[in-house]
Symmetry: C2
Subunit: 509 residues, 2 copies
């Protein structure tokens, strides 16, 4: 049978057991690290069994470390059954997010490039068990990942015990698409010899100490992929502003004709922004990014993108079918790397990535909030945006200028939480326009951002703030501390950042 | 004569002219890049002549780019004469700072590792003139830097015209201490082959296109070095907390016995913190940092530090004498590199630097303000702290728990400006204690930071804020947006962050 054939190392076959049996290796108080980056390549069978045990009354609380977000069978099931006491470094699942925001789960969102080395350095404590979804196990006992790589190499290296879920729903044709390279810990660390997006420097599987494998479980559950939204008018406008801007940079001699490798964040807007390139004049593009979404397949098929390096395939349901129907074709144009490599500052700075990420809100001085709505409500996490933003050649943040039917302005006097500082943000883009902030002093950035990017409904309010702030004594980063967060206070108090709404807090009037 | 002997390339001797004549190459509207990093190795003669011309009524406004802060002859003279319209990326000179805060000078503080590549990428526009202090010019026309390297390689590479100030007050024995290595721009950039602090990978001089040299000027002005404060009780306490913590990390197997390369920020506190190591049991230490201050000489002489890599010597007056009296001795233990290399993320992450930097204020969730007092008053700039903090193995921030005779708490509910986010800050240290925040969720960080690091006068106020914030709906990063900046509002309104002071803003009571 297919499952058995995928275990090519005979001596491991005595580790085959049911998901329920395997789940018993995970007990209360453990730290568990798993494969998975976005709802791709995460374990799907063992987590459900852990959840069942918890639901039957067994006390199981664990710390869970993954590459990034994962599917419902992991974050969803374990959140609903109250198993996840502590969670790193990123999530998007509704029940997981609720547990974080209601205080039931301790969550810390970390730069994704930091996570693999934090595991290596022991900063998360000992990893008791790794649960890894695999395509197959090689003759040498190497573990071949599926649709993502994420932290799997470091989880396998550092865990006391390893559980493998071999997923026969993932096509074997994916074998060979991965490029597994690991760094040493300081002081022995060497350089990472990647000089182009398509450089292959490692193996197609993860080395694994056979004696640590305690269970091999059969799985046939497909990735819990998410739909990608339609490419709407605002995304098109944002995409066009970026394409025009990149064209001007080429004309000014600051970018090669085929640009530099592109990175684009996760989700519908990022997918749409990247997808807009299909109508541009750019060709021979390369991508060095985290996730390969549907629009990348379009760009590859249109001959726009020559090569894409990422740490996961993150398609919609249709995109997944397209990938699986044409795996060999896309595998020629794609590499999946460990996230220590896909997000590595060394490589990002060397290749000169053009980083495009989305923001929740951006302030007039160029600081970006990517995580906490109104300063307190965790959305997903910083993910890899900081890795690319800090180290990129050009760093661009996009946001639609308003949210909540216009009651929230995405451009505010001071962001309520900072994930990316003024020192890292080059260009801000909304559907209203684009503001190139490079080289500008804060008091120049403010007016340019408001003029070019804020929604007309909020321009007057924002300019009024700037005018009055600039009357203060200190004119470098002019703020009225008492009013810096007044837009947020107004929203919390009245349901709108607009001034004319009823019930406005007195202090604001 | 000495000056003439230092121009070893005969064909360049016809470029010798007075500082006044040379200054005429700089006219209104130009962008000027100079040598200098801290008050070390910056040009001292030509800037004064530019200032004189401006004071005589000539209209001269320039953009000035340096490595970091520079001495009075450059930032001071040009600020007082109103010449600096725009300034990058760091400063500490009083008149310069005043001009920034009163709105006369457009200033943007950038990560120091970004500045050299921003010059290369053209993000500051064309560099019209570079003014470089040199020890000598080699037979091949190479420019040998003096007590700092900073951005000199990129300034020389990119400027249309170059003015050299040969400073005979800088001892020729410094020749050989520099290691000049330059990176290509993407997509041609390669890895930087440094694997240990003392790896030499480049030349001892900066290559220079002879045809761009328009003037060579004689100088004999010593560096305008600044005194270093006494090592006070608070610094000793902070230093001891760090030493004990590092010892524990060694015991836990997370650090080698001789640690990993140390980075320590600029100034008296940083000097004192590093200096504290002299009484520790650590030996065979190495440093990979920006500035080599007095305490480094102590540590070298005590056999504690084997090797220090930096981009400048930044000693006190006594330290400078000591360096010059023993140049050959210290040159055996020190390298000066371009700041693109000293601050490079690739190297910092590879070597696994232990980064120790100072903060103006730190919030309960681990965000750090390094630059803007009360959110608006620019102090110096972010400098290289972000390069080391983001990419270090361990990142530590120190601050004394109060300022202004106790009226300011350095631990606040929300910092009024963010330079380093919660995602980057591992450990917080004050004279009260140390808080290891690694792996903690925000709501754990808050209580630990307050308990361990806040001054007793402010603990109750801070805990009261946390208690009430945690009663809110969203419990991941609990904040009361309306009160998040209330400590600052109180200080601005009453002169103290303490609650019992008179004249308190009504809203706070």
């Amino acid at each position: 049978m297919e499952f058995n054939r995928r275990i090519r190392k005979e001596s491991l076959k005595n580790k085959i057991m049911s998901a329920r049996e395997a789940s018993n290796f995970i007990v209360d108080g453990m730290t568990v690290a798993t494969s998975g980056f976005t709802p791709s390549g995460y374990p799907k069978k063992v987590p459900i069994e852990i959840a069942k045990r918890a639901e039957s009354g067994e006390k199981i609380k664990i710390s869970l470390i993954t590459g990034a977000s994962v599917g419902d069978e992991l974050d969803g099931e374990l959140s609903r059954s109250g198993v996840i006491e502590r969670r790193y470094p990123y999530q998007t699942q509704k029940d997981m997010r609720d547990n974080i925001n209601n205080g039931d789960t301790f969550y810390a969102d970390h730069h994704l490039s930091h996570v693999p080395q934090h595991i290596d350095y022991g900063y998360y404590g000992q990893i008791d068990v790794a649960i890894i979804e695999a395509l197959c196990i090689t003759e040498d006992g190497g573990i071949v990942p599926t649709t993502s790589v994420g932290i799997s190499p470091q989880a396998i290296k550092n865990a006391d015990k390893i559980i493998i879920e071999i997923n026969t729903a993932q096509p074997l044709a994916l074998e060979g698409v991965h490029d597994i390279y690991m760094t040493e810990k300081p002081p022995l660390r060497k350089h990472i010899p990647i000089y182009k997006s398509d450089d292959r420097i490692g193996k197609t599987y993860i080395d694994c100490d056979e004696s640590k494998i305690v269970a091999i479980v059969e799985s046939d559950t497909p990735d819990d992929v998410r739909p990608l939204g339609e490419i709407d008018e605002n995304s098109k406008k944002i995409s066009n502003f970026i394409i025009d801007f990149l064209g001007e940079e080429v004309e000014k001699g600051r970018l090669p004709k085929n640009l530099l490798p592109l990175q684009s964040g996760v989700g519908s807007v990022a997918n749409a922004v990247l997808g807009g390139l299909i109508d541009s004049d750019f060709t021979d593009l390369t991508c060095y990014t985290e996730v390969i979404q549907d629009s990348m397949f379009d760009l590859i098929d249109a001959g726009k993108v020559k090569f894409a390096s990422g740490t996961s395939f993150t398609p919609s349901e249709e995109g997944l079918k397209r990938l699986f129907d044409n795996t060999e074709h896309y595998a020629k144009h794609c590499i999946l790397r460990p996230m220590e490599i896909s997000n590595n500052p060394e490589i990002i700075r060397r290749l000169g990535i053009i980083a495009m990420n989305t923001a929740i809100e951006i302030d007039i001085y160029g600081n970006v909030n990517s995580t906490n709505i109104m300063g307190t409500r965790m959305m997903n996490g910083i993910g890899g945006s900081g890795d690319f933003t800090r180290n990129g050649y050009l760093t661009i943040f996009t946001t639609v200028s308003t949210a909540k039917n216009g009651d929230i302005s995405s451009i505010v006097p001071m962001v309520s939480h900072v994930d990316h500082t003024e020192h890292d943000v080059h260009v801000v883009v909304t559907e209203q326009g684009i503001a190139d902030l490079r080289g500008l002093a804060p008091k120049e950035r403010s007016r340019k951002t408001i003029e070019n990017c804020a929604h007309p409904d909020y321009k007057e309010l924002l300019l009024d703030y700037v005018d009055r702030a600039e009357e203060g004594k200190y004119k470098h980063t002019p703020h009225i501390i008492d009013e810096a967060l007044s837009f947020h206070e107004r929203f919390i108090g009245t349901g709108s950042m607009k001034k004319e709404k009823k019930g406005l807090l007195k202090r604001v009037l």
